[in-house]
Every structure is written in structure tokens, then in C-alpha cells.
């Protein structure tokens, strides 16, 4: 395999919790705690897991929106965290982000053309060239150049998300982080936006880091998937393999919990109940992070943390026991 576009090694994002009389550090939230990820050129890698697992924090650390406490983030072979700030900011212009909520992502006072042109203005592109580029971008995302004078409140949720996508494309990024890009949209609009995201990637060849809790969407759009639990990756591999034959007990429970939109199939599936609660990241379990909810856990799982290990089927699993195959979904 050629050099990956993005390679993250040992990423940690720890937030100090201050308190007490003197406001000193009394605890540390380990939101991301030892995280490795690779994204190839033109590839879509999905990061999945439940709320609080650290997937958005990991995405933000890669984008530089949150400070990494430790680790390396190689972008085209260069460790961003080792660069001087100005150079790092310049490199990061090649990464863009699409958030869940297109309403708060756009300034309501600006026309959508101005919003889309903003990153170009920051990059010092002259206004005539900018106007032409914004027109192209509006066409590319299916809104049409003539719509540029409209304001966000005149647009539907799906149209606003198209504006956000156009803005992300403005500087021709190599990596786009999509954080729950369709979760806030109506069901009938989601497939339009997913198709647009897939088409743009085919046309321009950039990579996606696709953060989502919606596993049906992830299975559809991702080449590879990484499953996060309590700040670390517990299973990763080609999306097809991970979904067809999940081997970490958490991945199995997660996939089994998605209700299938087919009543006969859904009602004949075996239950893989996952009881209990996500442990507090302030006080994570020793050993395997999943040990408190795992139906297979043994003594050694309570003592030592399992490393991600190849399964032989092209996936990697951080589990000493590797749950037996449950066969193909559904």
C-alpha cells in the first residue's frame, strides 16, 4: 500500500478536571486514550461508536480544533503536531469539516455565496476568481450558481447541508471530516446528501473520515470502519468484513442493536443484549475497557488491556477471546 494520506499514532486527548479549594487538577477525563488510524488517498474510513466514546473528540484533534495531549498525526507523511503553528495551519487548510447541524454551521446574516467564499477569501483569492469558483461550487453540489444570493433561512435543511458541503470543498481539501453529516436531516433527504458525498469523492478523489452512530449509513458509504469504545479502537477493518463477521463482543452487540427496516428479518434475529452503562471516562476499568459489560470476560481481561491484533480475515480486534463468529448479518 502506498503512503496513507493520514496516519494517526497513539493519539491521546486528556481533559483535566479542576476543582477543590485551589482549583487544582483533581482528575483527568481520558476522552481519547491511545488511538491509531490510517486513511488512504480517496478512501472513506468510518469511526463509529456510541455517544461519549470519543469519536468526535478524535476527529476534532485531527482537525486541530482540540489539543492533542500525546501522539502523532502524520498528514502526507509530515507530523502536524511537530510543525510550527503557521505551517501547521497551512497544512490543515487541506482538511475540512462538515458538521451535523447545517443551521448553526452557517452565519444567518451572510448570503450563501459569501459563506462559501469565506475560506477562499482567507486563502487570499481575488474576488473575481472567488466569484467564479463559488458559482462552480454551487453547481457542483446541485444548488445552482443562481442561488448564491439567498440566505440560510430561505433554504431547507438539505439545501443548507449542500451549502456546508460546497464551503468544505472550496479550498480543494484532501481530507474531509464528516461528523454525523446526515443525522439532522429528514429521512427522504438523507439519501440525496449521501449520494452527493459519494459522487463528489468519485469526482475529486479526496478522503473522508466519516464519524457516525448510524451503522446502516456507515456500512453503505465506508471502505473501512473503526469501532471505538471508551476512547480506543476495539475493532477495525474493511467495512464489509466488520459488518459481515464482527468479532469484538462490543461490535457484535452494536450491530445487533440496529433495528432492521424489515419486520420479518428484525423479529427473527437473535437478541444480543448489551446491558449496563458506559463506564465514566473519569474512572475507566483497568484492563479491557469493555470488561464491565462483556458477556465473555475472564480474569485476564480485568488486568491487562488487549492490543489490536489481526484476525486473519483482514480485520483487527482488541480482544483476548475474540467472540465466536455469529455468521453473516442479518
Amino acid at each position: 500500500m502506498s503512503e496513507p494520506l493520514l496516519k494517526v499514532e497513539g493519539l491521546r486527548v486528556h481533559f483535566p478536571v479542576r476543582g477543590g479549594l485551589l482549583g487544582g487538577e483533581i482528575a483527568v477525563v481520558k476522552a481519547v486514550d491511545g488511538f491509531d488510524l490510517e486513511i488512504g488517498v480517496g478512501e472513506t474510513v468510518a469511526l463509529v461508536g456510541e455517544s461519549g466514546c470519543g469519536k468526535s473528540t478524535a476527529g476534532n484533534a485531527i482537525l486541530g480544533l482540540t489539543r492533542a495531549s500525546a501522539g502523532k498525526i502524520f498528514f502526507e507523511g509530515v507530523d502536524l503536531l511537530g510543525l510550527p503553528p503557521a505551517e501547521r495551519a497551512r497544512r490543515r487548510r487541506e482538511m475540512q469539516v462538515i458538521f451535523q447541524d447545517p443551521v448553526s454551521a452557517l452565519n444567518p446574516k451572510l448570503s450563501i455565496a459569501t459563506s462559501i467564499g469565506e475560506p477562499l477569501a482567507i486563502a487570499g483569492i481575488a474576488s473575481a476568481e472567488r466569484r467564479a469558483r463559488v458559482g462552480d461550487l454551487l453547481d457542483i453540489v446541485g444548488l445552482g450558481a443562481a442561488q448564491g444570493g439567498r440566505h440560510p433561512n430561505e433554504l431547507s435543511g438539505g439545501q443548507r447541508q449542500r451549502v456546508v458541503i460546497a464551503r468544505a470543498l472550496a479550498t480543494s481539501p484532501k481530507l474531509i471530516v464528516c461528523d454525523e453529516p446526515v443525522s439532522a436531516l429528514d429521512v427522504s433527504i438523507r439519501s440525496q446528501i449521501l449520494n452527493l458525498l459519494m459522487r463528489l469523492q468519485r469526482e475529486f478523489g479526496f478522503s473522508y473520515l466519516f464519524i457516525s452512530h448510524d451503522l446502516s449509513v456507515v456500512r453503505h458509504i465506508a471502505d473501512r470502519v473503526a469501532v471505538m469504545y471508551l476512547g480506543t479502537i476495539v475493532e477495525d477493518g474493511p467495512a464489509e468484513r466488520v459488518f459481515a463477521d464482527p468479532r469484538h463482543p462490543y461490535t457484535q452487540a452494536l450491530i445487533a442493536a440496529i433495528p432492521l427496516p424489515d419486520p420479518r428479518a428484525q423479529r427473527s434475529r437473535p437478541d444480543v443484549p448489551l446491558d449496563g452503562e458506559l463506564p465514566s471516562p473519569l474512572d475507566p476499568p483497568k484492563g479491557c475497557p469493555f470488561v464491565t459489560r462483556c458477556r465473555l470476560a475472564e480474569d485476564r481481561c480485568r488486568v491487562r488491556r488487549p492490543e489490536l491484533t489481526a484476525t486473519g480475515a483482514g480485520t483487527r480486534v482488541a480482544c483476548f477471546l475474540r467472540a465466536p463468529s455469529r455468521g453473516t448479518v442479518p
Binding site: I255, L260, P261, L274, G276
Partner: protein, 328 residues
């Protein structure tokens, strides 16, 4: 397990009209829920599904008013009740759970007291007895260490646990009808699975009638016996759950089901789309309101379509059933 079709419905909504500023945002909705039956009301934002539910329980926002029709709970018209009468019924005979448990719980009252409250308010139990039953109900909905948890405030509990607390307080008096408005939308899938399992157990054990409002076809496939699909203020199709998924008989239902990425679908392929966007209230077309996005609509669709029977208990408001197959 579909409910016995013979018993009288617990809830019978007929020709319900809800207006906001003189416009009918819910426009002639009819549906029934029988004892022990789960009926799903499916639709996108602005379809009127939540306003339908809120008018049944008498909690419409100030700007909206029920302007026509009936909503009978065991034969009594809820729309004709005074606020005081409705308050006396809420909790005891009908209860509702909402999407945001945190917003619906009182942050300053222990969760045990909140669950016990409806028993005390309605004089069904002494405070001590009510607290005992509240702890029992918390255990029933899967809250670990319920005695200890009962003394905690909502903020000390996770979102999934708060949702279970809300369900416990909705069910503690054994209501005849439970209305659940997007009960799992804000929750993670593993917690959602727990809540859905719980709702299925409770309706089986207590014969509670459940009206669940959702946009998630997976949730519908998991728990509903019958389904009504709403679009722009009207029900466009009603069917038993298996029929709805196997023989969707309204173009909107058909398209909606085909746009969803499936766990067994072809990866990376273009997904089916519904063209255009959900029209806002001011732009609802005359006649069939889906016709502006419908691939098989013709000039005749400018007239309001009648609900026609397409199978046992299966109705559709489409006059081009002959061309349905063209949608695929």
C-alpha cells in the same frame, strides 16, 4: 403478535384537525389503537405526527388548537375535556413519553419522587406506598440499584437511565394508553434496543395500548403491529406492519422505504432518492400533497385522493394504484 381485532379500541381518533394561525397543519387524521396493540405513526418533520399526539393528550402548544374531529379514549372525547379534567386523566389513564427525557424531568426532584408523584397526586397511594411502588417500577424498567437511584437527581443519571425514569413515571399508574413521541431518537442504539424490549414486555404484560411516533423505519419494523404514514398533515397509508413493508401501497411510503441504506444492501451504490424537499405548510399543493414529488402523479392528482382499501386493514390515499409498480 397482533392484538385481537374484536375489542373496542382504547383510542379512536376521527377526522382530527389541528390548526395553527387558521391553517390546518393536521388535516383529517383518523386512527385507532386497540388494547395491547402498538400503532406507529410515521412521518418526517412537519408531517403533523407530533401535533396529532399532543392534541390527544391535551398538550398542544399555545399557537395550535384542535379545530375539528374527535379523539375518544374508551369512548370519552378527549378534545371536549377541560384542562382540569385532562390533568386528572393524564398519568392515570393516558401517559406520554418524549424524546428529551432531561427536558421532561424536574431537575430539582429526586427521580423516585417524580415516579411516585402521579400516584400521590391522583390519591392512588399513600406517599410511603407510592415510593415503594416507584422503586419497584424503576427496577422493572431496568434501573440497577433502584433504591439508591430513586434518591438521586436526574442530572446524576445518564440519558438512557433518564429515559427509563420517564417511562417508569408514565407507566407506574398502569395507563390504558401510552403515547411515545420519538422515545429512542436521542439515544444510542444499544440503549434504544433496551427501551424497545421494555416497551414490548410492558404492552404484553399489561395490555397497554401504545401509539409510537417515529421517523425510524427500523423502530417501526421492531415494535409496531400496525402503521400509519403521514405526509404534510394527512395520513397517506395505513397497514399491518408486514403488509406495509412487503406491499407499500402509497408512492411516498414506497420511496421512503427504498431510500434507506440497508445492512444487506449493495454498498457504495447510489441510493434511491425522493426528489425535492418536504414542502413547508405555506406550499402544500392542493389535492394530493405528495404529487409535486411523486414520479407517477398526473393532472388528476390535483383532486384530494380518497382513502381506498388495498387489502385487509390496509388503506392508501393514492388514485394511481395502477401505476405503483413503476416506482419499483
Amino acid at each position: 403478535m397482533p392484538a385481537d381485532p374484536t375489542p373496542r379500541p382504547v383510542l379512536a381518533v376521527a377526522d382530527l384537525v389541528v390548526e395553527i394561525g387558521g391553517r390546518a397543519v393536521v388535516d383529517g387524521v383518523s386512527l385507532e389503537v386497540k388494547p395491547g396493540e402498538v400503532v406507529a405513526l410515521v412521518g418526517e418533520s412537519g408531517s403533523g405526527k407530533s401535533l396529532t399526539a399532543l392534541s390527544v393528550i391535551g398538550l398542544l402548544p399555545k399557537a395550535a388548537r384542535a379545530a375539528g374531529g374527535r379523539a375518544l379514549l374508551d369512548g370519552e372525547d378527549l378534545l371536549a375535556k377541560s384542562e382540569a379534567e385532562l390533568r386528572a386523566m393524564r398519568g392515570r389513564r393516558l401517559a406520554m413519553i418524549f424524546q428529551e427525557p432531561i427536558a421532561s424531568l424536574n431537575p430539582l426532584v429526586s427521580v423516585g419522587d417524580q415516579v411516585a408523584e402521579s400516584l400521590i397526586v391522583h390519591g392512588e397511594a399513600s406517599p410511603a406506598e407510592a415510593r415503594r411502588r416507584a422503586v419497584e417500577m424503576l427496577r422493572r424498567v431496568g434501573i440497577p440499584e433502584p433504591e439508591r437511584r430513586a434518591r438521586q437527581l436526574p442530572i446524576e443519571l445518564s440519558g438512557g437511565m433518564c429515559q427509563r425514569v420517564m417511562i417508569a413515571s408514565a407507566l407506574v399508574s398502569g395507563p390504558r394508553l401510552l403515547i411515545a413521541d420519538e422515545p429512542t431518537t436521542a439515544l444510542d442504539v444499544t440503549i434504544q434496543a433496551q427501551i424497545l424490549r421494555l416497551m414490548k414486555e410492558l404492552r404484553r404484560e399489561r395490555d397497554t395500548a401504545v401509539l409510537v411516533i417515529t421517523h425510524d423505519m427500523g423502530v417501526v419494523a421492531d415494535i409496531a403491529d400496525r402503521v400509519s404514514v403521514m405526509y404534510a398533515g394527512r395520513i397517506v397509508e395505513t397497514a399491518p406492519v408486514f403488509d406495509l413493508f412487503e406491499r407499500p401501497s402509497h408512492p411516498y411510503t414506497r420511496l421512503l422505504l427504498s431510500t434507506i441504506p440497508r445492512l444487506d444492501g449493495t454498498r457504495k451504490a447510489d441510493l434511491r432518492t425522493v426528489e425535492g424537499t418536504v414542502p413547508d405548510l405555506a406550499h402544500w399543493p392542493a389535492g394530493c400533497r405528495f404529487r409535486t414529488r411523486c414520479p407517477i402523479a398526473d393532472a388528476g392528482c390535483a383532486a384530494v385522493p380518497a382513502m381506498v382499501a388495498v387489502g385487509p386493514e390496509h388503506t392508501s390515499a393514492c388514485r394511481r394504484l395502477d401505476r405503483l409498480e413503476e416506482i419499483g
